[in-house]
Symmetry: C2
Subunit: 193 residues, 2 copies
DNA sequence: ATATTTGTGGAACAAAAGTTCCGTTAATAT
DNA sequence: ATATTAACGGAACTTTTGTTCCACAAATAT
């Protein structure tokens, strides 16, 4: 048999994701990733293919981990309004905690690339639909349990919630302060009843 | 005196803006702009400075024209709820009319660059604040005229409206269909009362 | 211990990006 | 008509980007 890889495949993929997330696809060069991660050029190309393939892999990884976790929360929560509130708090906190205001990788990527790259567009679309379905399902359960009124159509409410979560990711790049986030979250949640 | 420019300075600036708007800062090369606009390299650099300066000029142009127009509408409208509704309809239409789904140049630019470029961050922040003030002023007038109830704080409602408009620009990159937009707009406007 | 086979280091490269420079051209003020 | 001065065309150049290739290294099955 042949020798084994000296680097952890998942770890490098994760770090590459952070690069693309932070600086965008066109703003990140293979060289930067190599410098930071210390693996050799040939290993990078050998393992992940070219730059675009690597990017697509990181986007899928985001979908499977970050988006996946949110969907799991929505699928399993016993307290729907509380979980929705929590997601908004998390969105706010990620904008003011120590680390960078990276926003959402999926949002950043679709804004940069979705018009020009069909594969990115497809991933992004699938991601949106999966999230919408998870929110819709959770809202339905919330309504059945009496945690939410039946005044709103579940899918419409789901779409509205997502619109406001995405709006917050844009706000995170706009120099808005905490009060702005609090106002938006308060007003949005006033509809989630 | 010297000879006059063979190109229209404003027109080239406008076309350069469309490039950056469509393909992003890092996705657009000076060469592409030159190829399309037909002016010479030296004229471009002579007139607008380097690529980044040109970009900054186009971003300011957007602020002065597109954002300026929205602010003007809000400052002068006699029917505030109607104007707000109109802005949402325009946001929706721009996603489905013949031309490209470019989204909002200000949103695209801040998502791509605001973390890394202080000057972009400043323009983007100022743009947000100017818009928020215009919405807030309009909402106050609407409340005084009895077109809107006084249940909502004007500034909080303004922030909420902007959050949903920006959310729509993200939706325009997400492969969402008309029904998604209609649900979001209906739910958002249900709060604008 | 060796053969096998894949990983690794790094040289090398073509193309593109971003910019500068300069000789030439052409408006216009006088 | 000419001098003046800025615009123009395009050659040229330095980096950076994205990628390939190959000689060498090392893990493991036998």
């Amino acid at each position: 048999m042949a020798r084994t890889k000296r680097f952890d495949e998942e770890e490098v993929l994760n770090n590459a994701m952070l690069f693309f997330w932070h600086k965008g696809y066109n703003g990140t060069s293979p060289q930067e990733i190599l410098d930071e991660l210390g693996l050799s050029r040939s290993s990078l190309y050998d393992t992940y293919g070219d730059k675009r393939s690597l990017f697509i892999s990181t986007l899928k990884r985001y979908r499977d981990t970050i988006t996946g976790e949110i969907i799991h929360m929505l699928d399993t929560t016993e307290n729907v309004p509380e979980t929705i509130k929590l997601l908004f708090q998390q969105a706010k906190n990620s904008c003011f905690s120590g680390d960078e205001k990276r926003g959402c990788f999926m949002v950043n990527s679709k804004v940069e690339l979705a018009i020009h790259d069909e594969e990115v567009a497809a991933i992004v679309k699938e991601n949106r639909e999966a999230l919408e379905n998870a929110f819709t399902g959770a809202i339905k359960r919330g309504q059945e349990k009496g945690q939410l009124s039946k005044d709103n159509q579940p899918r419409a409410l789901a779409r509205f919630i997502m619109n406001n979560l995405w709006g917050l990711t844009v706000h995170s790049k706009s120099g808005a302060d905490k009060k702005v986030f609090d106002d938006i979250i308060r007003m949005t949640l006033s509809v989630v009843k």
